[in-house]
Structures are given as structure tokens and as C-alpha cells.
């Protein structure tokens, strides 16, 4: 029974998903199913605090850890799930998506994310990530009569299975050299037997990092992100850009810092390359986008690079900065996607934001807040998080990388603030102001609250972000 205590939030989410699958035919309106998903997410978040002792514990033969690192990210996933459920209510009814199936997939994907961050064994990590991505493939193509969604789903599936194969091959090679899949056992075997230079192990480290880099959409494993975010329903894109990225980052940090700790010289070079390429490519390609979801996709690629900066030194402080960045980024991207969802079809194109401050001043103000945060301008959470990761890169002596990150941040200000200019300094095209549904307003309020509180009190998150 002590094993089950380590997975209480996962049990709550998957149990709710099972119930939703059983009653799938009887649920017609998304409005009646969404509250249960939000309740499940809140219950999972509450159980993180109630059922888990302050110290860390492991279960299931030492393969799943319930430590503060896992709980931090599980809290993020609960929030991500609740916000995604709130944001999707109107979309599901207008696109005629089966609500129960959709929410069951959201719940199961979140369960997979939680397993991926709690895993201290490569096979459980793989299972968690697969559960997450298999649900994501279906979620991306859930609007069956939309060709763009089908195309995105197929692309995501092919590239995703390829990345999973890379990850699995890396796990197999690592097992071949060390004879272990447990993170700490891998590290101790490598340093005890002195096989840090073993070519098979180096290939294993490279393949595992490549597979995980796909999940966080870091360049050169980013090609799927723009098409998938563009083709998927906006709430699904929001869910993926916040949750999938955080799960991948969490797994990446734990694997690098615990399992491959003796290999730091190898993966730190790879992380530097991934971070530099992602920051540059994401920022430069986002400039030429005229569609909002595509722009946010390139922005998510750039943000994957910023988050990886904290991992470069391999220190606990750097990892803590990466964790904070993943948390803050999740809520600001959910907020920005939330505004896109709130505006409906008008929000998909950049031109739809013309003169938004006169037709919908409230929505324009929240969007402005999220754009400031994504750019990294104080007093928002985006600034403090970006400051922390760049600082950790500087402390580790990577001055060039830090300068590059700051320069790309300046470039990114151009395309983020262009939306703000459109909202505040141009004339509106149409003067219709639709009332926002309560659920969307609630989601935007939560995202905005995290963005503001994280910016004004930067230490609130930092004390919770304890690396593995």
C-alpha cells in the first residue's frame, strides 16, 4: 500500500479518465464534463500536499520517486490540466468534439507527464512520456473533419515515434554498458567501472538527450512544433506547449543530473548547442509569422532554449532556475493561448488584434501582460525567470551564450510587442465585442495571477523549485 501513496495524484487523474470513458456516450455537452476535470486536477494538486510527506519516498521497487522535484512539476501539470479544461469548453461544443473522450485524453496525458517527472528509472520514464505523447497524437487530430488537424496529427505521430525510438535505443545502449536502468545505479556503475569514455555509453547519452529534446521542441528536433500548434485546436496547442515541454524538461534535467552525472562534459556540450540553436532559430523565425499560433510555436521553441540555459552548468542552482522557468513559461503561454481562444477565429491571425484595446480593453490588457512576460520585461514572472537562467549561464562561464540569449531576447521583443502595437496603436477593423465565457475568464485570471506574483515576489517559486 505504501507504493500506492507515491502515485495518489496519478491515480486520481487516471480514475477520473476511466469514469469519463465509461460514461462517454451519456456526456453530450463539454460544459457538464469540464467541471469534473477541474475538480480532479484540484484534488490531484491537493493530494500532492496532503498525502506526500515532506521527505522524499520511492515506490514500486525504487522506480517511482515522490520527492519535492516531482511534486513541483506535478503541481504544474495539475494547473495545466485545469486551465486547458477551462479553455476548451467553448471549442468542444462549436467543433462537435466528443467531450468525454477529449477530457479523458487530457487526463491521461497529464498522468503520463506526472509519471515522467516522478520516474527514477529509464523504463518508467519512457512509459510516462509515451502515455503523454500517445494521448497528444489523438488530441492534435481530435477534430476529425479538419484536414489541417489530421495533417498535424500524422506529422506529429511520425516524428514522435521516431524520437521515441531514439530514446528507447539510447536506453538500450545505456543498459548494455551499465546493466542498469535505475538512475542512481547507472551513475554509480559508470563512475565505479570507469566507463565514462565508453563509445556505446556516449551514443546512449546522445540518443536519450535527442529523444528528450524532441519532447521540448529544441532545435534541431523542433520541426513538428509549428505545424502541430497550427493544426491543433488552440486549447490542445496550449496544453502541449505548457505541459509537454515541462515534462520533457523535467525528465531531461533529472536524467542529466542524476543518471548521467559522470557524463557531464558530454551532455553539457549538447545542451549548449541545443540552447543556442533553439534561442536563435525560434526568435528569428517567429518574426516572419503572420499567424498567432505559429508565432507562439516558434516562441515556444525559443523558450525551450532559454530554459535549457539553466541546465548548462549542471549545478543545483541552475536546475532550480530551469524548473522555475518551465513553471512560469507554462502559465504565460497558457495565458497567451487563452487570449487567442477568447477571441475565437479572429484571434488566429495577427491582423485580428488591430485595435483590440478599444473593442475589448480587458482582453487587450491581459494579452499585453503575457506578451511582456514572454519578452522578459519586469515586473513580470518572465523577467525573473529569464534573469535566473541567464545568470546561471554567466556563473558557469558561458558569457557568449548569455550574450546570445540576451540579444535574441531583444529580437523577440520585436515580434511580441508588434502584437501590442497592433492592439493599442491601430484602428479597429470591426467593432464587435463578444462576451467571454466565465471559464475562459477564470483561466486567464489564474494565468495572469501567476505571471504577476512570480514577477513581484520572485522567491515564491524559487523556494519550491528544488532540483533532484
Amino acid at each position: 500500500m505504501t507504493d500506492l501513496v507515491t502515485v495518489v495524484p496519478e491515480l486520481i487523474l487516471s480514475g477520473t479518465a476511466v469514469v469519463l470513458i465509461l460514461v462517454a456516450r451519456r456526456v453530450r455537452r463539454a460544459r457538464s464534463a469540464a467541471p469534473w476535470v477541474v475538480v480532479a486536477a484540484v484534488a490531484a494538486a491537493f493530494s500532492l500536499w496532503a498525502f506526500s510527506p515532506a521527505t522524499s519516498m520511492t515506490g514500486f521497487g525504487g522506480t517511482i520517486a515522490s520527492d519535492r522535484y516531482a511534486r513541483f512539476f506535478s503541481l504544474l501539470f495539475s494547473g495545466n490540466l485545469a486551465l486547458a479544461a477551462l479553455l476548451s469548453v467553448r471549442h468542444l461544443d462549436s467543433e462537435r468534439v466528443q467531450p468525454a473522450e477529449y477530457f479523458a485524453l487530457l487526463l491521461l496525458a497529464s498522468t503520463g507527464m506526472m509519471f515522467a517527472v516522478a520516474a527514477v528509472d529509464l523504463l518508467i520514464l519512457y512509459l510516462g512520456l509515451e502515455l503523454m505523447t500517445l494521448c497528444s497524437y489523438v488530441l492534435v487530430g481530435i477534430v476529425r473533419d479538419k484536414p489541417a488537424g489530421n495533417e498535424a496529427s500524422i506529422k506529429y505521430f511520425f516524428l514522435g515515434s521516431f524520437a521515441s525510438a531514439l530514446l528507447l535505443y539510447g536506453i538500450a545502449l545505456t543498459y548494455g554498458v551499465t546493466g542498469a536502468t535505475d538512475f542512481s545505479a547507472i551513475a554509480s556503475t559508470v563512475s565505479r567501472n570507469g566507463v565514462t569514455r565508453h563509445p556505446m555509453l556516449l551514443a546512449g547519452v546522445g540518443l536519450v538527450s535527442g529523444g528528450l529534446a524532441f519532447k521540448i521542441a529544441a532545435v534541431p528536433f523542433h520541426a513538428w512544433a509549428p505545424d502541430v500548434y497550427q493544426g491543433a485546436m488552440a486549447p490542445v496547442a496550449a496544453f502541449l506547449s505548457a505541459g509537454s515541454k515541462a515534462a520533457g524538461l523535467a525528465a531531461f534535467v533529472r536524467v542529466c543530473l542524476v543518471a548521467f552525472a559522470p557524463e557531464q562534459r558530454i551532455w553539457s556540450v549538447m545542451v549548449v548547442a541545443l540552447a543556442a540553436l533553439s534561442v536563435m532559430t525560434g526568435s528569428l523565425l517567429a518574426i516572419s509569422q503572420s499567424r498567432m499560433k505559429r508565432m507562439l510555436a516558434y516562441s515556444s521553441i525559443a523558450h525551450a532554449g532559454y530554459a535549457l540555459l539553466g541546465l548548462v552548468p549542471g549545478t543545483p542552482e541552475g536546475a532550480s532556475a530551469t524548473m522555475t522557468y518551465a513553471f512560469v513559461y507554462a502559465f504565460m503561454t497558457l495565458g497567451a493561448f487563452g487570449v487567442v481562444i477568447a477571441l475565437g477565429p479572429r484571434g488566429e491571425n495577427l491582423n485580428g488584434y488591430r485595435g483590440l484595446s478599444t473593442t475589448a480593453p480587458g482582453t487587450a490588457a491581459v494579452m499585453f501582460l503575457f506578451l511582456l512576460s514572454l519578452t522578459g520585461i519586469p515586473p513580470t514572472a518572465g523577467f525573473t525567470a529569464k534573469f535566473a537562467v541567464i545568470l546561471s549561464a554567466v556563473r558557469a562561464g558561458y558569457i557568449g551564450l548569455a550574450v546570445l540569449a540576451v540579444l535574441c531576447s531583444v529580437v523577440s521583443a520585436f515580434f511580441y510587442l508588434r502584437v501590442a502595437v497592433l492592439m493599442y496603436m491601430t484602428e479597429p477593423q470591426e467593432s464587435e465585442s463578444a462576451r467571454l465565457p466565465v471559464s475562459v475568464v477564470a483561466a486567464l485570471a489564474i494565468a495572469a495571477a501567476v505571471t504577476i506574483v512570480g514577477g513581484i515576489f520572485p522567491n515564491t517559486l524559487a523556494v519550491w523549485a528544488i532540483p533532484p
Binding site: V18, I21, L22, A24, R25
Partner: protein
Amino acid sequence: MREYTGIVVAFVLAGAFAAANIILASVLGPKKPSPVKAEPFECGQVPFALPIGRLSVRFYLTAILFILFDVELVFLYPWAVVYRTLGGSGLVEMVVFLAVLMVGFFYAWDNGALEWQ
């Protein structure tokens, strides 16, 4: 290597049995060739399309449902082998596993996947 002898024997016996049947049929069997017999065989039906033509999507659904139960059996066999050492907790875990699997089966049934119209 001794423990693999049984597998090798099984391979050889299976191969010999299949080969013997083919050879016996071709040597002993009557041969009355006709145009119908020369046609590609498709479950007794007259082939009306190219082999690479379209296939009804219902076969896909049937295959998925088959996998549902096939995977279940794959897990049941090793469980049955170590059933006594696992004890009561093993039984409970397998019942939970089967219950989750049945949820999927119920979903397919509820949505009319088992009706062949």
C-alpha cells in the same frame, strides 16, 4: 546451450511437418487445373479488385479489438506461471488490470464497434 535443444527440436519438427504436407500433397494429390483455380485466393470469394485496392475500415476496427484481447492474454500467461508465488496481491493486481481493460472493451461495445452492418 542445452536448454535451447528443445526449441531447436520444435523448429525442426514444425518445419519437417509443413514440408512433408506440401510434398505429400503435390505428389499424391490429383491435379485438375482450371482457370478458377489459377485465380488469386481471397477467402473463397471471387476477387473483384486489385490486391492493393481499398479495404473496408471495419477490418481495422476488428484488428484493434483483437489486439485488446491479444495483449491481455500475453500478460495472463506469465502471470499464471508465477500465480502461486505472487499470492493474493497478484490476484488483486490482475483483476484491476482486467477491469481497466474491460473499460476499453465496454467503451468499444457502447459505441457500436461490435455491430457489423
